[in-house]
């Protein structure tokens, strides 16, 4: 079934899904934290839009609520919290240059092709439309994970983690018409709590290693040499 043969609403869903994938790429390559947070907010907004379209297509009221929740949480609240966090940590203007952004992008493109290849067997169940969006959601998940691998900044890692959650949500909404409301609320609450915890952790990490570079976390071993600890404490005041 080609795109032109689908009902109009599903066409628009595919368009929005493609944009979600694009925001994933932007998140991956965006060096500036604040811009990355904005990209994440856009991703949340797009997913809310998609949920809205699904709600319209399936006439299901609980998806309306779900869309609203997504918008409030992922497009507004969490980005706002992150933004505030970044400002309070005074890293708003930090930009962390990836060493080889093109390589990361190429790896992400390979991941997209790979996820498409993975979901190809679904063709047996003649659910083309579903397969398409599942491929996209899987790619969003994998790119989120890739982002956590290549970025050193802890805040960027949290963004990667959140976009993994976005990918899962996308899959749930587009294939099964959303999770039960009960589960969805639970997940939303989890994400929020995770966000708060991350915020606390950031301050803790920063106090102990004076940076949010996760590559330095390996210094937090039990068998830390004595000398190094002393210099650290010497620096703190």
């Amino acid at each position: 079934m080609t795109l032109a043969e689908l009902p109009p609403l599903e066409q628009w869903m595919l368009l929005v899904a493609a944009f979600v994938l694009f925001t994933s790429f932007v998140l991956l390559a965006q060096a500036r934290l604040v811009s990355a947070i904005h990209a994440f907010a856009w991703q949340g907004a797009l997913i809310a839009t998609l949920t809205l379209i699904v709600a319209q297509a399936e006439q299901s009221s609980h998806l309306w609520f779900s869309a609203l929740l997504t918008l409030a949480l992922k497009a507004l609240l969490i980005p706002w919290m992150l933004h505030r966090l970044v400002r309070r940590l005074q890293i708003a203007r930090d930009s962390e240059a990836l060493r080889w952004p093109t390589l990361a992008i190429m790896a992400a493109v390979a991941l997209v092709i790979f996820s498409y290849w993975l979901v190809l067997p679904m063709v047996a169940q003649e659910l083309t439309f579903t397969r398409n969006i599942v491929a996209i959601s899987l790619a969003v998940v994998l790119i989120g994970l890739l982002m956590m691998v290549v970025r050193q900044q802890a805040v960027a890692q949290v963004l990667g983690f959140m976009s993994i959650e976005n990918g899962l949500f996308l899959a749930a909404v587009s294939t099964t018409g959303g999770m039960p409301l009960f589960v969805e609320l639970g997940v939303a609450f989890d994400v929020l709590v995770a966000m708060v915890l991350f915020g606390v952790f950031f301050f803790q990490i920063r106090e102990s290693i004076d940076s949010l570079d996760v590559d330095r976390l390996n210094r937090l071993t039990e068998t830390q040499p004595e000398g190094q600890t002393e210099t650290r404490t010497g620096e703190t005041p």
Binding site: W100, I113, W117
Partner: protein
């Protein structure tokens, strides 16, 4: 029984080549003999081969012959079909130009200490070997001719052996040529084991089981890929090709690499039977990596001949890319795109022979006129050597795939084939082909940058050294040699439909699918798939361009009556610009070096000399040396050291080993 006509021509060409070799042997006493007889005979051999190949392409059916040579139970089989005919044309065309050019070029060597008989003798033998490879119709002749070609070219690479770098390059070349020969031998061995005979007809009929076919394919890819200089097996090529005298470099880059392409096509498309799609993916990947890496390394070179050698890797990559597309489409039963891809590969083969031959001859003319290979010392040569300069420009535009020259046609065809990817069922392959096409586009743009650099730095601007400022123009024969190839470049670019009509028997013969629709609208239009899909009219592009240039040029009369005054270049109000202020070859490539830094091993050092001045050094090395060659070399050395333990110096111990080996062997065969 007399063999049919095209084969007679081919045999005559081989005879002439051998005669040229024989006569040149006498040039130790009379150096002029090589110039007066040796080179013209070489050109004649080329011309006759060209005629034979042309006759084979135009005629229908293959001509065969058996010679009572070789093993008692296996006479030499020769066969000249359309595919062999095309490669005869490639070899013959370039050799004719090289022969004419050589008349002037070897004159410059007459007063040196280099041994002329070696040069002339092995050139003839080299040519004979290449012609015989193309004509061979059994594996035995093929391998003999192949080894003749490799060995003869080894002596040509080692020709100027006083320089240690050349000796090293020649040794490396010999090593790689042997590895390649071994792989090819084994590949034929696998085929022959199934066929029970060495004749190509029997090999063609043999039905191989899946894994064995893949093994034969892998061996052929290794053998022919080594010879063709595919990345990562390319490291010998930029060392060996520039080491030879320039007209030999032209032969090696423009022709010998094509013989490797011939071998690959013959082996995989003709003898091996139906391909598997995985082969196509492998060839496609190797081709695109070679194309990209080849041109990136070419961009970083400052030695003109090395630059050209690296660019050969790029072009061979493009050819193999098209062949990979052909395999992929063939394996998925889309014969029309497969036939088109094969035509694109063959067209590019022909084109590359012409323009790379032309560019190497141009580099030779510069070397002849200035004794300079380093781009950083050149500049402004267009005014000192106008003929060479304009011919070189034609070569640069052709290789950079600029319409309406020939490189563009084959590149355009390759893109058109890649655009047929929508026919494939697998979305993954579709995406793969699209990405490969993007790599090809990147390559094409980098080629343009590379040859803007080569031509701009060498021929434009001001001379960067004194000997270049006093360059001597090339003698007539050298100009004619270049002119022939330049004319070929333009003709093949402007009349693509004619060329494709000539190439058409080859896909019909190998794949059973013609490309009649490509020229369906007449000689003016090229429509590879159908007129609504894509069309290109090279004659009209040339015509319109020419008319527009003339019109606009003529219209300058409307302005201030075409007044023109010479003045100094703008100096920003400071000192007048000197030649040292120009962008050199390294400076030109610096932005691209920075963008693609990951792929090079760049060593930059700034050292302070005793007198307080600073010296900047830049070395750009090939990463494959460190990643592939040095580990292998170290492993071989380590293994060799282990083996030396056997060497105790005691004769009786050696005899003991011999006895043990004998016993084991007897036990094995019992």
């Amino acid at each position: 029984m007399t063999p049919p006509a095209p084969l007679t021509f081919a045999g005559l060409a081989i005879a002439l080549a051998l005669l040229s070799a024989l006569i040149s042997l006498a040039s130790a006493r009379r150096p002029a003999l090589l110039r007066i007889l040796g080179m013209p005979l070489l050109a004649a051999a080329g011309g006759v081969a060209l005629l034979g190949g042309g006759a084979a392409l135009l005629g229908d059916g293959a001509a065969t012959a058996e010679l009572p040579l070789g093993l008692p139970w296996l006479p030499w089989h020769l066969r000249l079909d359309a595919l062999a005919g095309l490669f005869l044309v490639v070899i013959g065309g370039v050799t004719t130009a090289v022969g004419v050019y050589g008349i002037g070029y070897v004159r410059g060597l007459e007063h040196g200490r280099d041994p002329l008989p070696v040069l002339g003798g092995f050139t003839g033998l080299f040519l004979a070997g290449m012609l015989l490879v193309v004509l061979a119709d059994d594996a035995f002749v093929f391998v003999i001719a192949w080894e003749t070609m490799s060995l003869a070219s080894y002596f040509l690479v080692a020709f100027q052996h006083e320089q240690p770098a050349n000796r090293r390059a020649a040794f490396l070349y010999l090593l790689m040529a042997h590895l390649s020969g071994l792989a090819i031998l084994l590949g034929f061995g696998v085929l022959a084991a199934f066929a029970g005979s060495f004749e190509f007809a029997a090999l063609r009929a043999a039905a191989l089981e899946g894994p064995w076919a893949s093994l034969a394919f892998a061996l052929a890819l290794l053998g022919f890929g080594l010879k063709a200089g595919l990345v990562p097996l390319h490291a010998w090529l930029p060392e060996a090709h520039p080491a030879a005298p320039s007209h030999i470099s032209a032969l090696m880059s423009a022709v010998m690499l094509k013989v490797a392409v011939y071998g690959f096509i013959r082996f995989v498309f003709d003898l091996l039977g139906p391909p598997q799609w995985q082969w196509g993916v492998v060839v496609l990947a190797l081709g695109s990596v070679s194309a990209l890496m080849g041109i990136l390394y070419a961009l970083m070179q400052t030695d003109l001949k090395r630059l050209l050698a690296y660019s050969s890797i790029e072009n061979l990559g493009v050819i193999f890319l098209a062949l990979g597309l052909a395999l992929l489409f063939l394996a998925t039963d889309h014969t029309l795109p497969a036939a088109l891809a094969l035509v694109a590969a063959l067209y590019h083969t022909l084109n590359h022979a012409l323009f790379k031959g032309l560019l190497f001859l141009g580099a030779g003319a510069i070397l002849h006129g200035t004794h300079e290979r380093d781009l950083e010392q050149m500049g402004g040569l267009l005014r000192r050597m106008p003929w060479t300069g304009w011919f070189f420009l034609v070569g640069c535009l052709s290789i950079a795939a600029m319409p309406p020259f020939n490189g563009f046609v084959s590149e355009w065809l390759t893109f058109q084939v890649a655009l047929q990817a929508w026919q494939l069922e697998s979305g993954v392959l579709r995406s793969l082909i699209a990405i490969v096409a993007a790599v090809l586009a990147l390559t094409a743009a980098l080629v343009a940058a590379c040859f803007v650099k080569a031509f701009g730095v060498a021929f434009l601007g001001q001379a960067r050294s004194r000997h270049v400022r006093r360059a001597r123009p090339a003698p007539l024969s050298m100009r004619v040699g270049q002119g022939l190839l330049a004319l070929g470049c333009l003709a093949l670019g402007v009349l693509p439909s004619g060329v494709i009509a000539l190439l058409a028997p080859i896909p019909t013969e190998l794949l059973g699918q013609g490309v009649a629709q490509a020229t369906a609208l007449g000689w003016l239009w090229l429509t590879p798939v159908s007129p609504t899909t894509a069309s290109y009219s090279a004659p009209l592009v040339l015509l319109v361009l020419a008319v527009l240039v003339v019109l606009v040029f003529w219209s300058r009369q409307w302005g201030a009556v075409g007044r023109l005054r010479r003045c100094d270049p703008w100096d920003c109000g400071f000192a007048p610009p000197s030649a040292r202020m120009q962008y050199g070859a390294t400076a030109f490539a610096q932005p691209l070096r920075r963008v693609f830094a990951l792929l090079f091993r760049v060593e930059e050092t700034v050292e302070t000399l005793e007198d307080g001045r600073r010296r900047y050094r830049l070395a750009i090395a090939d990463r494959t040396w460190g990643l592939l060659y040095q580990p292998v070399a170290r492993a071989v050395e380590a293994a060799a050291r282990r083996v030396t333990r056997l060497q105790s110096g005691n004769v009786r111990v050696y005899l003991g080993w011999t006895l043990a080996t004998l016993l084991v062997l007897l036990w094995l065969i019992s």
